[in-house]
């Protein structure tokens, strides 16, 4: 492979067609987003947030969705999570159309303080979704303990979330998702509200969970460095109305460390490339410009 080649797996679009992200042969994709469009009707007329999005997520992938602010990242995530209806197109999980929040999905929100229930202790917060899903008590106890252990919070099960620091609270939210054992974990800018050092720790935690537990993760962020450091793949979104600008493979080693990985020439190249694409997107360059 050429040292500076960026392997884009964006399906080459015929002249004038809407470009799409990487798609997999039928039956292989865990999550499929097909021709997704979202138009909000407001008092000032309809606003097209998402124009046409198509990509697939395979089993065990860790993909980052990155785009300029206001590019409809959160809208997209909420549609995938079944919290918001699409205007056109569809989301398929395991080949089944998503119409409401699917049982096999978990979401980690940016606002951990509002996502955790302040009236429940840490362990109870992690346990509640399992309880409501009808998991037997003994298994619940084991899964909660294992999840808290995995995020390094085994020592505070009896604390209330509001007694913990921001980073620890987000760990609780992640533990809750881990214990739920979802097929797909969606993360909506989960580390945007924590300080830089905590953020680095949480990024490494996410990579570790992905590697050790074999989770499939779709990670939304506006941070270019974060997307390249975290992802095995980065899906770059255009500015609103959103289409897939580019879908690239991050061919960095699987074992990444904050110091060494970020100093690698390859990291810099990839970061440079993604940065350029985002700048292009901000300036209004669109892959579907011919349209």
């Amino acid at each position: 492979m050429q040292p500076d080649a960026i392997s884009a797996n964006t399906t080459p679009a015929p002249e004038g067609a809407v470009p799409s992200g990487r798609t997999l042969p039928e039956g292989e994709a865990l999550l499929s987003v097909r021709g997704l469009k979202k138009v909000y009707s407001t008092d000032g007329g309809p606003i097209e947030a998402v124009r046409n999005l198509t990509f697939d997520l395979g089993h065990g992938e860790l993909a980052c969705l990155v785009g300029p602010s206001g590019s409809g990242k959160t809208t997209l995530l909420k549609i995938i999570a079944g919290l918001l209806g699409a205007t056109e197109g569809e989301v398929l999980l395991d080949g089944k159309k998503v119409t409401g929040p699917p049982k096999k999905m978990a979401v980690v929100f940016q606002e951990y303080g509002r996502s955790l229930f302040p009236w429940l202790r840490v362990a109870d917060n992690v346990e509640l979704p399992l309880k409501n899903a009808g998991v037997p008590k003994e298994e619940r106890r084991e899964r909660v303990a294992a999840a808290l252990e995995a995020v390094g919070l085994a020592h505070v099960p009896k604390s209330y979330p509001w007694q913990l620091s921001g980073g620890m609270q987000q760990r609780v939210a992640i533990a809750r998702a881990v214990a739920y054992q979802p097929e797909v974990l969606l993360m909506d800018e989960p580390f945007a509200a924590v300080d830089a050092q905590t953020r680095a720790d949480l990024e490494d935690l996410t990579r570790r969970l992905w590697k050790d537990l074999g989770m499939t993760i779709l990670f939304v962020t506006h941070d270019i460095d974060e997307s390249v450091y975290l992802g095995e793949r980065v899906i770059i979104l255009s500015s609103s109305p959103t289409v897939v600008q580019e879908d690239i493979v991050i061919d960095l080693p699987v074992d990444r460390t904050q110091l060494e990985t970020r100093e690698m020439p390859r990291f810099t190249e990839l970061r440079h490339h993604v940065y350029e694409q985002i700048q292009l997107a901000k300036k209004g360059h669109r892959p579907d410009a011919a349209h």
Binding site: R114, F117, W162, Q163, L164
Partner: protein, 279 residues
């Protein structure tokens, strides 16, 4: 991980009041001194002839009458009647307003549909219903209950409606994304959010219920402390009357203490409590 240190929760911080209290008189002692001072003034006023003793007997005489009351079955029967009306009325109001508040609050349509009606009925003073209560139920306990329930119902309903409106959007979406059923969402997200508001409604309602229980007994004559007060007054037992008034005051204080205790127990996690509660 070293970047994350466990921040002490607000509950874990030492109370600042303690350092301030070392220099001045402790709070409970100061409160007790206040009560003693009040009783002394009360004792002195009829003694120096400022007010005639047949209108305001000295405090000592009233307290003796109250202690004597404590030994009488009739007194405890009256307390029982008053407390029964209070408890039943409050319970009916809290349960009905709680359930209705949840149902109305969670439906935008019902909210708009009932808003004007609630705003119209709420300010009607409960005592304005006394003639109606007498017409319907005579001097029985039901008259008291009707007044108590009406007054408390709105207090609680308004609080619950505020509580439901305060349910966090992200918390709701979290519950949805984990596939909570509608019932589970109400039980695990809506109800705990509403609980602090419900407790406020309950505490306000508890005082209002006592006021109306005594009012109903005084005016309608249903059995209880209120009627005892009216009887003592018409029988010329002035010290006895004051003793009973004192008893209603003590009852109010007791109710308030119990309500505050219950609130602190149930809402140890809530920002309004977690500063003071001992975890």
């Amino acid at each position: 991980m070293s970047a994350e240190v466990l921040k002490p929760g607000r509950a874990a911080q030492p109370r600042t009041a303690r350092t301030g209290a070392r220099r001045s008189v402790p709070k409970p002692v100061l409160g007790l001194l206040g009560v003693l001072g009040f009783l002394l003034v009360w004792e002195a006023v009829p003694a120096v002839g400022l007010v005639e003793a047949r209108f305001l007997p000295p405090a000592s005489e009233v307290i003796i009458a109250l202690v004597r009351d404590f030994g009488l079955t009739a007194f405890w029967l009256a307390v029982g009647h008053t407390l029964m009306a209070w408890a039943i009325g409050l319970a009916v109001a809290v349960v009905s307003a709680g359930v209705l508040g949840l149902v109305i609050g969670m439906s935008p349509f019902l909210r708009r549909f009932t808003n004007s009606t609630i705003e119209f009925l709420r300010p009607v003073p409960s005592v304005a219903l006394i003639p109606l209560a007498v017409l319907l139920f005579g001097v029985k306990i039901e008259s008291s209950l009707m007044l108590i329930i009406y007054a408390c119902f709105w207090q609680v309903l308004i609080q619950v409606l505020y509580g439901v409106a305060d349910v966090d959007n992200v918390a709701t979406q979290t519950a949805q994304s984990y596939g909570f059923s509608r019932f589970q969402r109400v039980r695990d997200v809506v109800f705990p959010t509403v609980l602090p508001y419900l407790m406020t409604g309950l505490r306000l309602g508890a005082s209002v219920a006592l006021i109306l229980a005594i009012t109903a007994e005084l005016i309608i004559g249903s059995p209880g402390l209120g009627r005892e007060i009216a009887d003592a007054q018409s029988g010329g037992a002035i010290s006895g009357m004051y003793a009973l008034v004192l008893a209603t005051g003590l009852l109010g204080v007791a109710i308030n203490i119990v309500m505050r205790q219950a609130e602190q127990r149930l809402l140890a996690w809530h920002p309004s409590v977690r500063g003071e509660a001992v975890l």
